[in-house]
Chain length 461, copies 2
C-alpha cells in the first residue's frame, strides 16, 4: 500500500488556521526543538506548537493526520539517543506548558499530571502531602518524556521504572482520538496492557496528554554513604548479596576509578580513587540502621574500605550531588569535547564482567569513558567525550557503542536499560530481539498506519 | 477482507500427520479441556494435543494457521471467566506436561520455567535456593495461565501482579514463529513492551512457551494475624493508613460478615462474625515486630478488636487455610449450587463504598454472596452461588455482575482486577475503556490477522 506524500505546507496552513500565530515556524524555535544532549546531527521540525490542553494536542494530531505531517512530542529536551530529531520534518508539539497537577489522591497514593511537569516540580508540589514520586533519571526530565522513554535511574532498584509507576495514561492516538489506557485502579486484568505499550514507545504510538502515577510515602529517614572496593567484582558481589538478604536499598550506584577521579576533580570530594559504591536507605530510623548494618557487614566481607556514612541531609546532599554531577564532571574533564552518555543493562550476575571488559575495551581503543552504574539493576552508563566535528572521533564512539551493545546482548542483556532506542540504538534492536521486532513493526503499522508519530525511530522507516 | 473458512478437518489431518495418535479427539479429553470453575456452558475444542516442547507448540500453531484452526492454550484449567471455551472449535494445546524448570539464577534471582509448571510445584522446586515466587492467586494455577490472565492474588499488595514479575517470555506467535519478548536483564528500554502486551492477553496474541520470573528471598520470619472491625469502612481506613505509613504488608485480606460465617462453618474457626482483616508481614524478626506494632496501633485507632497474632507456622497455616478455602466454604454453604467467583477492583479510597453498596445490592436482590477482598489493591471477589440449570438464577447472577461492574467503573475502577475478561467480562470492556478497545482490536488484527488465537474472547469476533 503506497502512502500519500507528506504535505507539510498543507498541514502548516491548516494548523495556522486552527492555532493562529501560535504555530511557530521560526528557525530559532525549530532549532531548540531537536535534541540537546547528544552528538547526532540536528534534524529540525518544520514547525513548533506549544500545546495548552489535551484537546489541542488531539486537534493538532488530527490535522497532521489529514496531511501525513509527522508529529514529534517534546518535553524537557533531555533525551539522549536522538528521539527528538525530525528526519522527515513535521510538527514538534511542545508540552512543557502543560505542566499542571490535575488531581492527587493521598488515600490512593496517586497523582494525575499533565506531561510537561518535571519530576522536580512534581515533587515540590507534592511535598505537603507527605508523598513523593521517586523515579530519578538524573536530568530534571518531564514526566511525559520519562514515561515515553521508560526512564528509571538511581532509585529503580527499589521503586522500579516508569513501567512500574504509571497507572494509566490519556493519549492522543494517530487518528487524533484521545483515549485512556486504563482506569485508576491499582491493578486490572481488563484487556491488553495499553498503558505499558505506550510507556517506552517514544512517541511512536501516541502522544501522552495525561499521566497517572503511583506515589510513595516520603521516607522518615534517609541514610546514605559510600565505600570503596579493590575491584568492580567485589562491589558487584556486595550488591548481589545485599539484595539476596532482602535489604531494600533505595539507591546503589557504582562509580569506577575514572568516574571517581572526574567527580573528585569537579566536586572537590577527595574520594579514594577506587571502585566505589554510593548507597542510600529509606525507612524508619530502626529500619535504616538495620539495613546499614547488614550492608556494612556484607561489604566488609567483600573487602570494602573507607566507610563514610551520613544521616545528615547536607552531607548526603553533597555526596549525591557529586553523583548527579557525573555528567558535568566528565564534561569538565574534557572541556573541548562534547559528552555523550550511553547505557546497556545486563543480568546483575554478569555486571562485573561487562564493566571490566568494557574498561579493557576503552583502554585498548584509547578512549576515555568514566563508568557509573545503577548496579542493583545491572545497568551502567559510559560517559564518552568526543568532538562531533571530527569524523574519526564519531566513528570511534559508534564502533565502541556497537561493541558495548554486542557484549551486553551476549551476556543476556539489552542494548539500552533506560535511555531508549531513538535513532542511535535503532541498529541494534533486531540484534537484541530478533523476529520480535517484526511484531513491534506490525503494532506500529496497526496503530499508526500513516507513520506520522515520531517517524524514523526504532529503525522503522 | 474476507477470511477463508476454518478447515478443522484439514487441520486435524495435518496435525495427525505431525503428531500421530497424540492428537486426541476423544470426547473425554475435549470435555476436560474447557473451563472447570464457571457456570458458562462448555464449548468443546475439536482436538487436544499434549505438547512437550516449545517447538511442538510452534509447529502445531503453524499447522493451525494454514487451516485457520483456532488454538486455545490450556494450563491447569482454573480460569474463572470462560477463557478456555472453544466457541469456534479448534485445538486445545495442553501445556501441563511442559512443567520443567529450565534454569535458575540465584544471583539474578530469576527462574525460567515452562508454562505448565504450577506455582506450588515451582515453589517446592525453589525451596533449597532460599528464594520463592510470591504470586498467589489461591488456585494452584499454572504459571502460563497466571501470566496469560495477569493474575495476582493475596500477595500483590507487596509483590505486585504477574505484569510486575514476568521478565520475558518465549511465545509461539500466530504464524508459528517463536519469539522472545525481551532479554533477561532486569530492565530495558529497547522497543515496545511485548512482554507486558502478552501478559494478560489471555492467549489471544501468542502461546507462551517459556516464562522468566523474578524471585524473592524467602522471608526470615512471617508474622500474621486477624482482627475485627465494626464496619468495612473502618477496616479499609486501617489498610489505607498502614500503607501510608510505609508498612510493607505482604498480604491483607478483608472478609465480610457472610464470608467469616461461611469460613467458620467450613473450617470450624469460631471467628467473631464481623468485617475481619487477615494480615501477613514478611521480614526479619525486628521488621515483622515493628510492622505488627504499627499496624496494631493504626487498627486500634480505628476500633479494631480481637487481635489474634501468631508467628507460629502451624497456627498461621490454619488461619490462612481458612482464607484460601473461602471458595469451598461458600460451596459448602450451598451444597446444591455451583459457586461462581467474580471480581472488580477500584481505587482503594472507594473500596469501602463499593463493598457496602454491593452488600446492599445483594440483600436487595435476595442473593447470597460472601465478599473477600485483596484490600490493599482495592480488589474484591463476590462468591455467588447458583444452579446453572435454572435460567432465572443465571439471569440474576448476570444482572448482579452488570451492576457490580457498573458500580466499579463509576468509581474509577475496573471490570476485573485479576480474573481477566474471557467470555464473561467481554460485554464490559468498552464500557470501561471506550475507544481504547478499538486500538486493542487493531493490535489483535495486526498480530493475529486470521483470528486463530483463542477467538471469541474480549468480545472480539
Amino acid at each position: 500500500m503506497t502512502l500519500p506524500p507528506r504535505d507539510i505546507e498543507g498541514a502548516c496552513a491548516a494548523l495556522t488556521e486552527r492555532f493562529g500565530n501560535r504555530l511557530d515556524r521560526s528557525l530559532g524555535s525549530r532549532r531548540t526543538h531537536t535534541h540537546t544532549v547528544t552528538y547526532l546531527a540536528p534534524e529540525l521540525p518544520d514547525a513548533v506548537l506549544k500545546a495548552e490542553t489535551a484537546e489541542e494536542v488531539a486537534a493538532a494530531v488530527a490535522i497532521c493526520a489529514r496531511h501525513r505531517m509527522p508529529v514529534i512530542a517534546f518535553g524537557a529536551g533531555s533525551s539522549l539517543e536522538g528521539h527528538l530529531n525530525a528526519p522527515q520534518g513535521g510538527l514538534s508539539i511542545d508540552l512543557a506548558g502543560m505542566d499542571q497537577v490535575v488531581s492527587v489522591s493521598t488515600e490512593d497514593m496517586t497523582v494525575t499530571v499533565q506531561p510537561g511537569i518535571t519530576r522536580e516540580a512534581l515533587n515540590s508540589w507534592l511535598r505537603d502531602t507527605g508523598l513523593f514520586f521517586p523515579i530519578d533519571p538524573g536530568a530534571n526530565a518531564s514526566i511525559g518524556g520519562m514515561a515515553a522513554t521508560r526512564a528509571s535511574g538511581t532509585t529503580a532498584v527499589r521503586y522500579g521504572t516508569m513501567k512500574d509507576n504509571v497507572l494509566t495514561v490519556q493519549a492522543a492516538m494517530a487518528d487524533g482520538r484521545l483515549i485512556r489506557t486504563a482506569q485508576r485502579a491499582k491493578k486490572t486484568s481488563a484487556g491488553y496492557d495499553l498503558t505499558r505499550l505506550l510507556v517506552g514507545s517514544e512517541g511512536t504510538l501516541g502522544v501522552m496528554t495525561e499521566i497517572t502515577l503511583k506515589l510513595y510515602p516520603i521516607p522518615e529517614v534517609i541514610g546514605s554513604g559510600t565505600c570503596t572496593f579493590a575491584s568492580v567484582k567485589d562491589a558487584c558481589t556486595t550488591v548481589i548479596e545485599t539484595i539476596q538478604s532482602a535489604v531494600p536499598m533505595a539507591r546503589v550506584e557504582l562509580l569506577d576509578e575514572a568516574q571517581v577521579a572526574a567527580c573528585n576533580a569537579y566536586s572537590r570530594l577527595g574520594l579514594p580513587v577506587a571502585p566505589t559504591l554510593f548507597v542510600e536507605f529509606h525507612g524508619s530510623p530502626a529500619e535504616v540502621q538495620a539495613q546499614t548494618d547488614t550492608f556494612r557487614a556484607i561489604a566488609e566481607g567483600n573487602g570494602a574500605k573507607g566507610f563514610a556514612w551520613s544521616p545528615d541531609p547536607a552531607q548526603r546532599g553533597k555526596l549525591w550531588q557529586a553523583r548527579h554531577d557525573a555528567y558535568w564532571a566528565a564534561a569538565a574533564a574534557a572541556p573541548d569535547k562534547q559528552v555523550f552518555s550511553t547505557d546497556v543493562c545486563v543480568p546483575i550476575s554478569r555486571l562485573a564482567d561487562c564493566v571490566v571488559e568494557t574498561q579493557d575495551d576503552l583502554v585498548q581503543h584509547g578512549l576515555t569513558g568514566p563508568i557509573l552504574g545503577h548496579v542493583g539493576d545491572g545497568n551502567f552508563h559510559v560517559l564518552l567525550t568526543l568532538d562531533p566535528a571530527r569524523p574519526d572521533e564519531v566513528a570511534a564512539v559508534d564502533a565502541f557503542t556497537a561493541r558495548l551493545v554486542a557484549r551486553a546482548i551476549a551476556m543476556g542483556g539489552t542494548s539500552t536499560g533506560e535511555h531508549g532506542v531513538g535513532q542511535r540504538k535503532a541498529p541494534y534492536l533486531r540484534k537484541e530481539l530478533g523476529d520480535a521486532v517484526d511484531f513491534m513493526a506490525a503494532i506500529k503499522q496497526a496503530l499508526d498506519p500513516q507513520n506520522i508519530l515520531n517517524p524514523g525511530k526504532y529503525g522503522f522507516a
